[in-house]
Symmetry: C2
Subunit: 300 residues, 2 copies
């Protein structure tokens, strides 16, 4: 089984959805990614928290056997995000962002983590993502996420990073912003020309699309009636995907497609509860069971 | 092979999309439905046109072997619609609607058509849809479309129609309006409780969902880079679906799922040209070829 490393945020999330309100829940890209990946591998986490980060949250990570040797505690407060979802759950307003200790975080990958084969650079400044990548000694598959902010303001740093990636995951509006293409097929093909070997466009509840040398692959979202809180769905998708990839030794391209299905299924569990609530109650057996339902649901 | 009947509009469409402008193209729900179905069966069309309906358009229908014995020519002008699509192609503004002869159309199914086994009641007043249905002598599968207008203004007539249907096809915003549910899984299950044996929710480029006694089935849109004009996509979907259903004699539920895949593929061809341009150049071989690409594209 290969090793999986994630570098990203560990955060306090305050969330309002039509289903309720939660304050200061454990969140952040590295948290959701590693939680999702933990059903397949023992993920390695690199991130930063403040002195206010409680032991209970450390326990949330250790109970899923996430290796937190790269989780630094810095002087100050933990990253905080506050958001409110619209009634349709597909849109949200960010009400507050406090970078706190994450604002000056310069990630150092612990020596024991530098040989990680699967590397996920969660959304962050592309120059920081590149600095992390340069610390890795033998990465075999590097995937990154990005966001509209970096596409708009850090064009050059992003262009430099993209050819270094195996995979880029981004959502549909980001793909349009990056390529000036409204059509997602054109956008996906255009993103791939910027350098990554494969591109995955996430479309929320509608599913995701893969663009690779093996062509185009599309997959719908797993239909769930219980969408309580979409926070962390994208990072759970990436975590389920990469965790599965690292645990499967069959040849591509089937492996990457199956990994996307696992990512989809894990993300569908995430959204069924606030924050990590639902994933904390999940098991590999539940995930495999839902994957089989999903496979049957798609067959014609 | 079973017989397929459609009752709906035959129209002049004037359309503006980011790809260009077309004036007075042949359109209408019955036109797109029967064109799409004609790759599988010889469809029977019931509708009305005005005295301004040109011979060239009659030829467009006859060249696909559509039986137009139920196409009445009434005194006055043909139904006209004018619309403009937004840059994302997922939304449009209706600029003009002139019902003309369709406004007073009281469809009479010709005696030779009354034994049709597959019946599609294209979008129209639910009381008219019911009147058509009562003229049929041995329908084995009845499917209807509807729209926000009837959901909002003809609640009682619609509630009376729904239990008489095998299938209802409607788009996601209509399903939400009808059930007051934003979540599409909840909405689909709730629509089915109103009477139809199965419900198909269309989500445009994102695909469609089936709710039936066999559970939920989801299918993404066929990804095409050439979205020129989405007009008629929904009726092409229904026509491809029902045409295929009528031509296949294997048992459900596999048959209905396969039919949805055919509907998806035919609709993906429709949107690649203005009006009927692309479908007129299509062949059953092309459709089957695209279906195989689609099947491979979905496999994991």
């Amino acid at each position: 089984m290969s090793s999986v490393l994630v570098v990203g945020t560990v955060a306090f999330d305050s969330i309002e959805t039509p289903h309720g309100v939660v304050d200061d829940a454990l969140g952040g890209s590295a948290t959701f990614f590693s939680y999702a990946a933990s059903f397949f591998v023992r993920p390695r986490l690199v991130g930063v928290v403040g002195e206010d980060f409680p032991g209970a949250f450390r326990h949330f990570l250790s109970e899923r056997h996430i290796d937190t040797a790269g989780l630094v505690t810095a002087q100050g407060k933990t990253f905080r995000w506050k958001g409110r979802y619209h009634a349709d759950m597909n849109n949200r307003d960010t009400l507050e962002v406090h970078l706190n200790v994450f604002g000056t975080f310069d990630p150092v990958v612990p020596p024991a983590f530098r040989d990680s084969e699967y590397v996920f650079l969660a959304n962050g400044h592309p120059r920081i993502q590149m600095k992390v990548l340069k610390q890795m000694t033998r990465p075999s598959l590097v995937m990154a996420d990005t966001m509209d902010l970096w596409i708009s303001t850090e064009h050059d740093a992003l262009q430099e990073l993209l050819p270094r990636l195996d995979g880029l995951v981004l959502n549909d509006s980001e793909a349009s912003l990056l390529t000036d293409e409204k059509n997602m097929v054109k956008a996906g093909l255009a993103v791939r020309k910027l350098g990554p070997k494969f591109v995955i466009i996430k479309r929320g509840e509608y599913g995701s699309m893969l663009f690779s040398e093996d062509g185009i692959f599309v997959i719908p979202g797993f239909p769930t009636a219980q969408v309580v809180d979409p926070t962390g769905a994208g990072d759970s998708y990436a975590g389920g995907l990469m965790g599965y990839l690292a645990s499967d030794t069959t040849p591509p391209p089937g492996r990457l497609r199956r990994a996307m299905a696992y990512g989809t299924v894990v993300a569908s569990l995430t959204v069924e509860g606030f924050g990590l609530d639902r994933l904390r109650r999940a098991s590999r057996e539940q995930i495999d069971h839902r994957l089989e339902s999903y496979r049957n649901m798609l067959a014609f």
